[in-house]
Structures are given as C-alpha cells and as structure tokens.
C-alpha cells in the first residue's frame, strides 16, 4: 500500500518536473499566438539552441576551473538567454515580419523553413551526434522504507521547480503590472486599436518573441542539465509537446499554457510508469483530442464568439 503510494508520488514529482519545463516552452507559443495569431513552429529549435549554449557555457566554466554551482548555473542561464533571445528577435525580423498580414498559412510555412534551417545550422556547428554533459548537480532526498521502494526528489528537480516558479511569477507580474505588459495585453486584444493609441506594436511583437525565446532558453538549460544529452533534433519533439500543452490549455492564454503543460507532464509520466513508455505520446495526443472534443477552445481558452 505504502509502496504503491510512494510510487505514485514519485511519478507525480517526475510529471510536475517535466510539466513545468514544458510550461516554459509553451509560454512562447501561446504569447506569439495571442498577439499575431501564428504558430511559431521554429520555437522548439530555440529551446534546442538554449540547451546547446548551456552545455557550451557549463563546459567553458569547467575548463576555467570554476565549480561553484550558483556561478556556473547563472552563467549558463544568462548566456543561454542572451543567445536564444538574439535568435528569437532575428527570427521574427527575418522570417515573420515581412509576411505579416498575409494568409495565415504563409508564416507557418516560413516557420517550418526556419525550423529546418536552425536544425541544420546547429548540426553544422556542433555535429549531428549526441553531446553528453556530466551532471553538474547531483544528489537529492529520498523518502520511504529502506528495504522497499523509495521515492526521491533530486536537487535538480527542485531547482527546476524553483526556477520555473520564479520565471513564471516574474512573467505574470510583468504582464499584469508593468506599463509594457499592459501594452502587450492591449496589442493582443486589438492590434490596430493599440497602434492608434500610440503603442509601438512592432516593438511589442519583437518583445514577445524575445520573452518567449528567453523562457525557452531557461527550459533548455534546466532540461539539458536534467537529462545531460542534446542533439540538434531535440527541439522538434519538445516544441510539439509544448505546443500541445498550449493548445490544451487554450492557446493565447498564459495561465492556460501553464495548466496544460502540467497536465501533459503528469499524464506522460503516469503513462510511462503504469502503462508503457512507448505509448506516452499517444496518450498525450489522445488526451488533447479528448479535451478539444468537449472544450473546442482548450481548458482556459475563451469561447470564440462568431461575429457576423
């Protein structure tokens, strides 16, 4: 009894860890969608780039002989955010801004093209094979009887929770309190009107891409440190999951993306634990279909009112 409870708790912890990392990526999708109504298919690649830069940064610190963890982590985080934001900013400038206002499929194809480009860009620079990073943060707490199953919470998982929580709180207060955040919400509500009222919509759109990219980079650093492996193609599946999470929660809604990501993460780790790890993606997509059938605009999405 206790054993199965502990097992369940363990899966819950794993699911929440995964879900909070997905949430960080999903925010990028949902914010961009909320403002310009396009699916930024290249967003997963930004996450992948974030992971690579974090690996480079951690390795560089190792070579310099700096091993004090907070410094290493902060350096990795900041450099990863810097590089990813640069990519997010240029992505919007190069591939999406010239296409604004055209049919909604056009930027989607452009995004797919950009995604192929970024994958191969990293492949050229870093090689297509897996790179492995020795874990920086090890250890954790375990609960349970010594002779039976023990649930564990590693320090890394705790770090993921904490960093995600801080990023989310910062983002939420930025969006709801600051002047620029208010401008963001105004642009999401009605871009033309916001423009008339003197908001520089181009700047806000750029900012959205940068924020999304920065959060994806945070996810890249955290998941990269957790798993310790990266290759140029990890962006696609992570992006797909995060996008699923964003849709699940109601695309365009930031709390929706967080909720959707947590549900998805838990569903995935539960399936892997109790059913079969091969079919965990089937379950997450099946869940998506099921939820959309009953709530066609996602969990927290506003029901669309058809205007005639």
């Amino acid at each position: 009894m206790l054993e199965s409870l502990l097992y369940f708790i363990q899966q819950l912890i794993n699911g929440l860890t995964l879900g909070s990392a997905y949430a960080l990526i999903a925010i990028g999708y949902t914010m961009v969608y909320g403002i310009i109504g396009m699916i930024n298919f290249a967003h997963g690649e930004i996450y992948m780039i974030g992971t690579y830069v974090a690996f480079l940064a951690i390795t560089a610190m190792g070579m310099l002989g700096i091993e004090y963890l907070p410094v290493v982590f902060l350096f990795a985080l900041l450099s990863s955010i810097l590089v990813s934001s640069a990519f997010g900013w240029s992505l919007e400038r190069i591939a999406y801004r010239p296409l604004r206002g055209s049919n909604r499929l056009i930027p989607l194809i452009s995004a797919i093209g950009m995604s192929i480009f970024l994958q191969n860009y990293v492949r050229l620079g870093q090689g297509s094979r897996d790179v492995a990073l020795p874990s920086v943060l090890t250890g954790g707490w375990t609960f349970g009887p010594d002779d039976g199953f023990q649930a564990s919470l590693s320090y890394m998982q705790l770090l993921i929770f904490i960093v995600t929580f801080i990023s989310m709180s910062l983002l939420t207060s930025f969006i709801s309190r600051s002047r620029t955040g208010r401008a963001c919400r105004a642009v999401a509500q009605d871009m033309k009107m916001a423009n008339l009222l003197g908001i520089d919509t181009n700047r806000i759109i750029s900012l959205t891409f940068v924020i999304g990219a920065a959060l994806a980079a945070v996810a890249g650093v955290l998941l990269g440190m957790q798993y310790g492996v990266a290759n140029p193609f990890i962006g696609f599946i992570a992006g797909l999951k995060a996008f699923t999470a964003a849709v699940l929660g109601g695309i365009g809604s930031i709390p929706g993306a967080m909720l959707g990501a947590l549900i998805l993460g838990i569903a995935e780790s539960m399936t892997a634990a109790y059913f079969s790890s091969e079919y965990k993606d089937v379950v997450s997509f099946g869940l998506l279909v099921l939820i959309l059938l009953f709530r066609p605009t996602g969990l927290l999405g506003k029901p669309e009112v058809e205007k005639i």
């Binding site: 480079l56 930027p107 452009s110 480009f117 797909l240 849709v247 079919y279 099946g286 066609p296």
Partner: protein
C-alpha cells in the same frame, strides 16, 4: 536619424555575432570523462566576422538599398507585360497542362535512368500535393498530419501483401479506401474544431500513427520496417495458348504461376530499364487520373462548396450548406489520394519503415501546396518539382543542402507569399461586343 541608423546597424551586427559565435565558433569535444571546448578554424572566424560586417553594412545602407530595389521594381513594371483576360488565362493553363503532359510522356525516353527515378519521386509528391491541395487549398482545412494517410496506404499494401499475398492492383483500391476510412474516422469528431486546433490534432494523429507503426513490432516489424514488397505488375490478356488474364513483371525471370516476364511476352531482349520506365508511367497515369478527377470536382457543386466554405463559413451555413458533410468529403477524398500515393510508394521502394512517415514529410507536402499557390494544380506540380529536384541538384553541397533548403522556403515565401502560380478560377464572362 543618422546616428540612430548606425546604432541600429551596430545592434544588428552584434546580434549576428551573438548568434554565430557560440554555435559555430565553439565546438564541444569529449575528452576522457569530461568535455572540452575547441575553437573553430581561422576560416570560420573570418566567415563569422564578414557575416557581421555584411549585416552592419546592409542595415546601415538599408534605406538607399531599398530605394534602389523600388526603382528597379518601377523599371520592371514599365516593361510591357502580357496581361491576359481571365478566360484566356484559363485556356493558357489548359495548353500549359497539355504541354506538361506531353513532356512528361516523352521524359523517360529522353533521359537517363536516375532522372527517371527522380521524376517518379516527383510524381509521388505531385499526387500527395494534389490530395492535400483539396484539404488545405480548396477547403481551407489546415492538416499537418497528412503523412498519416500516406503511411496507411503504404502499410496496407505492404501488410496485405505480406500476410495474404495480395497483388498491387488489388491493394491499390483497398489502400485508398482504408486511408479514406481513417480520414473519415478522424475527420468526423475533429472537423468542428477551428483552424489551428484542427492543425494540432491532425499533427498529433500523424504522430500517433507513426508511433503505432513503430511499436506494433509483431505486426509491422517496428523500426525495421517491411522489406521485400513486390513491384507492381502489368495485367495483360493472353490469347495464346489459351485465353487468360496474366500479369507481366519486369524481372529477368519469373517463377510464380501466372506471371510472365515482360520481355519474354513481347519477345524482346531483357532490359533492366523497362522496370523504371514502367513505374514512372504508372505514377504518371495515377497523377493524371487524380488531376482529371479534381478538375471535374472543382466544377461540381461539392467543389464550389469547398471553396465557398473556405471563404465564408457563416454565409455558407446560412445558405443551407451542410458544413460537416462538405468538410468531411474534402478530408476523406484528400486522404484517399494519399492512400493511393502510399500504395505506389511502397511498391516502388519495395521497403518501408516508419522513418519515411515523419512530420517533416507532412511539412514538405504542405510546403508544396502553399508554395504552388493554394488551390492551383499547375502550381502544385511546379512546386513539387522545385521542392524535390532542388535538394537533389544541391547534392554536391552535401551538408549545406538542408540548410539552404530551409532558407529557400523562407525566401520564396517572402518573395511570393501568394505562391508560384496562384489559382485562377475558371469563370464565364459576357464578351463585350467589339467595335460596336
């Protein structure tokens, strides 16, 4: 203004440096138990520096560059361009189509074996593009998991042949039917979702099919795929010694009963190239059949309803059109064409595995449709040629191939967002009396 410009150009150059420096300039190499970083070669550094320099200069002189481009455009528009009235344009398209068909028929007899092979591949993508064109281009339903139906078609031939020994010609309609059934079953619940929700659900469906194919190892062979799928045969009526229906195959000799090698039947010398030519002509015939069916369909009420629904759903509903039935017909029909294409693909490849049915395949097919100009058949054909032949031509660039491919998609979209050959609706107009 001037200093502002310089600052922005400097900023852009800095961003370029940030993007290029860590990922291209530094490389992780494993050494012993840990990792170390290696710097790139000197030439890479020069490339990075010159890229930054170029971005700086381009941004600095952007206004004058832009005005130059505008001037050029003005000059271009002054040139006399042949402007055609709409009905002539339709007639022109017809002639273009006839010309393309003639060229396509002559193709295998003019070129080498490898280019026939490539042309067959292009034709498979033309089929897929035409099928997806119904769903995305005409009905306006964004389907990101089209490859699932392609996989269903391919696997239904491979499995039916593997387990029951059914031939290509029996499996072809079954594959189409099965794919259509999958399309119907998926479409029924999800077609009431709005645009992007539909997109992600279809994407998920595509992944689900692939995961199943990968993991149902006992049935599908999992990641190892299914080898040894037979090539299609040519059915032929035999009159000597007795009246019978036999199949001709294109191997050197045949051991199966009722199967006669092509060259012995016609008393020719064995030529391995006939097999390739036959596959090509078969694909061409399938393409032409699909083109013909679609050309008829878009003139029929259902085809008009697809487009009407794409343009204005509310107006359609208020005119009493059944939204679900129309969407479902487009979705099912598109799926069945993918099933045919899949069946042919399995027969041509003679080996299939889930590797061939990943999302990138869906993305390429979608890119073909959008690149061609949504709804336009000639556009799809042209775009399929561009998307398949270009990466092949760029083989010598090897590792830069996919990089350039991705960039090219972006550039074409920026250059011609409406597609290479946007669709023109056939319509009747009252001719004005000349010299009245």
């Amino acid at each position: 203004m001037k200093t502002n410009n310089i600052a922005f150009a400097f900023f852009c150059a800095l961003v370029t440096a940030i993007m290029a420096f860590p990922l291209l300039g530094l490389k992780m190499v494993s050494e012993g138990t840990g990792m170390i970083i290696q710097g790139a070669t000197a030439s890479t550094w020069i490339y990075i520096a010159s890229a930054c320099m170029m971005v700086f200069l381009v941004q600095l002189f952007k206004t004058s560059l832009n005005s130059g481009v505008e001037q050029f455009k003005v000059q271009l528009s002054r040139l006399p361009t042949p402007s055609l009235p709409a009905d002539q344009h339709v007639r022109l398209e017809k002639w273009a189509l006839i010309l393309i068909i003639g060229l396509a028929l002559a193709w295998p007899f003019m070129t080498s074996r490898s280019s026939i092979d490539l042309a067959t591949l292009v034709l498979i993508y033309v089929m897929l593009g035409l099928g997806l064109n119904i769903v995305v281009g005409l009905a306006g339903l964004l389907d990101l998991g089209y490859v699932a139906f392609y996989a269903v078609g391919a696997y239904s031939y491979a499995l039916l042949n593997n387990y029951y020994g059914l031939s290509f010609w029996i499996c072809l309609p079954i594959a189409g039917l099965l794919a259509a059934t999958f399309g119907f079953l998926l479409g029924f619940p999800v077609l009431r979702l709005r645009g992007d929700y539909l997109a992600i659900v279809t994407l998920g469906f595509g992944e689900i099919i692939r995961i199943f194919l990968n993991n149902l190892t006992t049935l599908t062979g999992g990641p190892n795929g299914i080898p040894g799928i037979p090539k299609p045969t040519l059915p032929m009526i035999q009159t000597d010694p007795e009246f019978a229906l036999i199949s001709l195959d294109f191997s050197r000799s045949s051991r199966e009963e009722g199967v006669v090698p092509f060259h012995t039947f016609f008393g020719l010398d064995y030529n391995p190239e006939t097999k390739v030519v036959f596959l090509y002509l078969l694909a061409l015939a399938m393409c032409l059949a699909i083109i013909f069916v679609i050309r008829r369909l878009i003139r029929m009420p259902v085809g008009r309803a697809w487009e009407a629904l794409r343009e204005d759903e509310i107006a359609c509903r208020s005119l009493g059109l059944n939204r679900t039935a129309i969407k479902l017909s487009a979705f099912t029909l598109g799926a069945s064409f993918a099933g045919f294409a899949g069946c042919f693909f399995a027969a041509r490849q003679s080996f299939i595995s889930p590797e061939s049915f990943t999302f990138i395949e869906s993305a390429i097919i979608l890119a073909i449709v959008v690149l061609g100009g949504m709804g336009s058949q000639l556009g799809v054909i042209l775009a399929a040629i561009v998307m398949i032949v270009l990466p092949e031509l760029a083989r010598e660039f090897q590792e830069y191939r996919m990089l350039m491919f991705g960039l090219l998609i972006v550039l074409i979209m920026i250059w011609r967002p409406q597609g290479l050959l946007p669709m023109q609706r056939p319509h009747l107009a009252i001719k004005e009396a000349e010299h009245a």
